[in-house]
């Protein structure tokens, strides 16, 4: 048994591909006294790494996941363990062929090189043992490869040891993690205890159990992925390498097939989701093969065998080729399908690096190491942040429901707006019953059921006719309704009432509150009580971390309002910024308040009618970016004059149990003024895009800065804040790209159907070339949507300065075709109501 030091700077638990990547990158970032603890034996400790199929397909519709994957592939290449064999995703259905075109677009957006569509004959030429008559075509990526993940791990451990940074302790089981005052202090093992400042959980399927030892939660679900290995295959008898032929993903059957030496490996995500409890995983000693290689359940795989036989009759149908290995391999699923990484919100110094596949591990490890060291990961990890979860996400019921539902999406055609069906509804606005009465179609955000549009507004379609920009193509009509655009126009013409319950709201109070917030925020928060501040947050490298509004309610009380999607991550950012002396405190009041938005040219009359008249709501008496109490039907609300839709109006914060009363009062008062209920389709997309408002996760991410985003203000506050130095440099220099709003000149496809982009498509120059800025970032559509008031389909995109010119003609690739677009405005200038007269009326 290995000997452990009594003290370490950081203890990494788990020596699978993730733990090995972690020690490597921590050592390269200058960390020393790293201890890697592994309960199994090396090099294959028995976790999911040991049975991984080890291939890497590079394309993902998610920018974040694609970035992790591309970085990982490059790292594997540098380690000399990457065998590039190419990969083909094949389509059996016309829908899948369309999806493959969409994957081409995402590949271009994220910089996956050399991708192209193949005809069945071209697929056959590359994979001669396929029955090409079964397929309609393929999507080829030359850079797909196979990695020796165990060898990679060994090399990375060795590199860390060569730097004198690492002690490896195999055969050592963690029995506990001690914390003190919310900070990790010690790792207990069966070979002794190690004091540590930082503990990294890289335990794959065991991560929830290890996290629980410290009082933290990692909502991860072990589940089964079935895989068989057949052989020896006569055709592969003379195989030159582990894999001579491109790996095939049979997307429509949720399967993959690859040559593996003289064998052929068939894996499946098609079967029912077979979930395991972390505590039900056998010990290493009690396992027949390894703890993550469970007995094969043949009946689950039988249908897949038929599919594999159909596609590869020469190999799979060969009576001389036998099933040599068949396992139910365990892997990690999560409720939203993303990894779970970052410092846990429960315990300082305790980091989760879990739910990660071979294809992402080194990239994520580099990200985490940068994050731990300087707080400045190059790849924005917000979609994977362990802090993103709400409590309901962490319940067993939710995890089981969503991982079960998500499993078969692994190779699915997932629409960007696709909604989850299971474990709903969870969080209901006090006006939920009203939304139901109004025929709302609900989309989920942070567990909240948010009306996206209202069925009762169908009547508006007649009123606005073609101005609602009806859609012909099924894809863009999915999870969409022209009613959204009708609601948009009605709001701009009259008034709209929007349920904004999904906001996350924190009160920061105490004598140190102002200083703490000033240190965090780019814009000055030390304003007069009653004023509202919109501000971005930066990381130390000047990347955009968040944007949100802060209302100063009193000299020592601030109310932070941020989007629900990353509300819990933002809460951690603020909680971490609270001073150690306790002079400022964060109170999460998300569940204490509901919020309604009231916007449109007639809303002053409506609020006037609904309120008791005590509050002055005139433009002079209630200026933009201010807040005050307004009593509505006997309820004291906090109204904030602000807009994300470009209209006069307020966000109205209401004690949640009185929310229904206020909704009804506003509704009644609005009827004479033509008030319509307006869904989030308007709030989040159409109205926002017309106004050029940026959204976090779309335009605002760590790899962009405020100058590029057109959000740099003329003056800079005096107080220091996170990212200031970097921001000053950005201001002094010239941006590599500028955020622009573009209009689609002609949405008509070659088949005569109007097509409307949904976001993340690549922007090309007129020669059809990918546009890349000086920092190496490709230009892609950050947000897309209808602009009913401007009559155009709108796109936002960062463009290199040579293209960031109003009137510049460019192309967008969408489903294999290229559509002409024009830069309408550069920077923050809105397309609709450019001088903001409506907001300030």
């Amino acid at each position: 048994m290995a000997t452990l030091p009594e003290r370490a700077k950081v203890v990494v638990i788990g020596a699978g591909i993730v733990g090995n990547s972690m020690v490597y990158h921590l050592a390269r970032q200058g960390w020393r006294d790293i201890v890697l603890v592994e309960k199994g034996t090396l090099p294959n400790p028995g976790g999911s790494t040991g049975h991984a199929s080890n291939f890497i397909f590079l394309t993902d519709h998610s920018k974040e996941m694609a970035a992790f994957t591309l970085d990982s592939a490059n790292q594997y290449r540098e380690l000399g363990v990457y065998h590039e064999c190419g990969g083909i995703e094949v389509a059996r259905t016309p829908e899948r062929m369309e999806e493959l075109k969409r994957r081409i677009a995402s590949s271009i957006s994220w910089g996956v090189e050399g991708v192209r569509l193949l005809t069945p004959a071209e697929v056959k030429a590359m994979v001669p043992f396929i029955d090409e008559t079964v397929i309609l075509g393929g999507f080829y990526t030359p850079g797909v490869g196979v990695v020796d993940s165990l060898q990679a791990g060994t090399l990375m451990r060795q590199a860390a040891m060569d730097l004198g940074a690492l002690t490896v302790a195999a055969g050592v089981e963690v029995t506990g993690i001690d914390t003190q005052d919310g900070r990790v202090t010690r790792v207990r093992t069966d070979a002794g205890d190690v004091e540590a400042d930082v503990v990294v959980i890289a335990c794959g399927i065991w991560s929830p159990r290890i996290a629980r030892m410290a009082g933290a939660s990692i909502p991860l679900q072990p589940a089964v992925h079935q895989m068989i290995d057949i052989g020896p295959v006569p055709r592969f008898a003379t195989a030159k390498s582990e894999v001579d032929y491109p790996i095939v993903r049979d997307m429509d059957t949720n399967m993959y097939e690859r040559q593996h030496g003289n064998g052929f490996e068939i894996g499946s995500y098609a079967h029912r989701a077979i979930l395991m409890e972390a505590d039900d995983i056998p010990s290493i000693q009690a396992s027949a093969l390894s703890p993550t290689m469970l007995p094969f359940t043949q009946e689950d795989f039988d249908p897949q065998l038929e599919d594999a036989l159909e596609l590869f009759p020469e190999i799979v149908g060969d009576e001389s080729v036998g099933v040599k290995l068949a396992i139910n391999g365990l892997l990690s699923l999560t409720p939203d399908g993303n990894p779970i990484i970052g410092e846990t919100p429960e315990v300082k110094g305790l980091w989760s690096v879990a739910a990660i596949w071979i294809k992402e591990a080194p990239g994520i490890a580099r990200t985490i190491a940068e994050w731990m060291t300087h707080g400045t990961p190059e790849i924005d990890p917000h979609g994977s942040d362990v802090a993103r979860f709400y409590d309901h996400h962490r319940t067993r019921q939710h995890i089981e429901a969503r991982t079960t539902e998500g499993y078969n999406k692994t190779y699915g055609i997932v629409h960007p707006m696709e909604q989850w069906a299971s474990n709903r509804p969870i969080r209901l606005s006090p006006a939920y019953d009203r939304h139901v009465e109004l025929g709302a179609t609900f989309f989920e955000a942070a567990g909240w059921e948010r009306p996206f549009w209202y069925g009762t507004n169908e009547a508006l379609l007649g009123e606005y006719g073609d101005r609602v920009m009806p859609r012909e193509a099924e894809w863009e009509s999915r999870w969409w309704s022209p009613i959204i655009n009708a609601e948009h126009l009605a709001m701009r013409d009259r008034a709209g009432l929007v349920d904004l319950s999904a906001f996350a709201i924190f009160d920061i109070s105490g004598p140190g509150a102002c200083a703490a917030l000033e240190r965090l925020c780019v814009n000055r928060v030390d304003v007069a009580p009653g004023r509202t501040v919109y501000t971005p947050l930066l990381n130390p490298a000047g990347g955009i971390l968040a944007d949100l509004t802060i209302m100063r309610l009193r000299h020592d009380l601030f109310r932070v309002v941020t989007g629900g999607g990353l509300g819990m991550r933002d809460r951690k950012i603020f909680a971490d910024a609270m001073p150690a002396d306790g002079s400022a405190q964060l109170h999460d009041v998300t569940n204490a308040f509901t919020t309604f938005g009231l916007w449109g040219p007639r809303v002053r009359d409506i609020l006037g009618a609904a309120s008791d008249g005590a509050a002055d709501i005139s433009h002079g008496g209630f200026p933009f970016l201010s807040s005050k109490a307004v009593d509505i039907d006997g309820v004291r609300t906090l109204a904030s004059r602000i807009s994300y839709v470009g209209e006069l109006g307020w966000e109205i914060y209401v004690p949640i149990e009185q929310g229904l009363r206020v909704w009804d009062a506003l509704w009644r008062a609005g009827q004479p003024h033509g008030l319509v209920p307006v869904g989030i389709g308007v709030y989040a997309t159409t109205a926002r895009l017309e106004k050029g408002y940026r959204a976090h996760g779309a335009e605002l991410e760590l790899d962009f800065d405020l100058v590029e985003a057109g959000m740099a203000r003329p003056t800079l506050k005096d107080a220091d804040f996170v990212g200031r130095a970097a921001y000053e440099q950005q201001r002094a220099g010239s941006p590599a790209a500028v955020l622009c709003t573009l209009t689609v000149d002609d949405p008509t496809s070659s088949s005569g159907v109007a097509r409307y982009m949904l976001g993340r498509e690549p922007i090309l120059d007129l020669e059809g070339r990918r546009i890349v800025d000086a920092k190496g970032r490709g230009s892609y559509v950050t947000s897309a949507g209808s602009g009913p008031s401007v009559g155009k389909h709108l796109l936002m995109a960062y463009l290199p300065t040579q293209h960031a010119k109003a009137g510049e003609k460019l192309l967008v690739e969408y489903f294999g075709e290229r559509y002409p677009v024009t830069v309408a405005v550069t920077g923050a200038t809105p397309l609709f109501d450019p001088d903001n007269s409506r907001i300030r009326s």
């Binding site: 048994m1 034996t41 090396l42 195999a170 055969g171």
Partner: protein, 330 residues
Amino acid sequence: MSGPVVVFVEHGAGEADRVSLETLAFARGLATGLGGVPVEALLIGGDATASGLAPTLGFHGVATAHVVDDPAIAGAYAPAAWGASLAGLASSRGAVAVLAPGSDRGAEVLAHAAARLGMPLAANVTSVTPGDPWRLTRQRWAGSLLEDATLVAPISLLSVAAHAVAVDERAGSPAAGVTSFAPQVAPADLIVRVSGHEAPARGEVSLSDAKVVVGGGRGVGSAAAFSELEELADLLGGAVGVSRVVTSNGWRPHTQQVGQTGQRIAPDLYIACGISGAIQHIVGCKAAKRILAINTDPESPIMSVADYAVIGDLHAVVPAISAEIRRRHG
């Protein structure tokens, strides 16, 4: 006074084999437990008398050795006939228990006897306490699991697990009385008998007799690489044994397999090279007096049964040991 404990004793070249002697030691304990009933042996084969083996069984507690020397029966091993002989002796002697060594032949003969007597049979017993019922412990899964069981039968038939008890030879004990036994054997029971022999390859040391076994597992990596192990085995006058993965890969013949479905060995030294130590293998080698493991992985399961270990690549370590032996022996 109940009848004797009858033991089937395997022998060859004038010697009882080791597991049979262990079985006699076991029988002696059982006989004592039964209040001092005699232990009687069945030896099939005329040379048992000629070689003077039969009387020496007295040192192992045998009161009477019954020798079958009818060449029709004893001339060649015939499982059914030998089983019928054992059943016949047990019946004629009014045996309270019939024991056989847990060897290939012992198990086979006892099963034939049990079938003919219509009695149950407990295989690979490691301990027994007579009574009502008889309580016994027997091996399952080739000894990786033990079963406590009861047995209720007019005659208790037990095969005794190899290496479960030590040989108990007491010099100076009275010689066994030797009688000739002429069993009733049906012609049908003589149909199946050894009809041919192939001698072992010249110079080949049998695994079961080898004092040193050099074992190879997955870590050997190829058929060709076994030459390194063979060289060491030759230098030590021993034999090569292998784990199941080696025979599954076709690197070595199954006759060399040690473990649950191969041979059980009990050499003075077992040198386990590149063997991780799956339980199916360990059950075959754990009776070795000492185990030396040569393995790159200090955490592999073999280390928990090994007495000595060399951490390193067997392809470097084994040739180095051979070279060192040759160096010292000129």
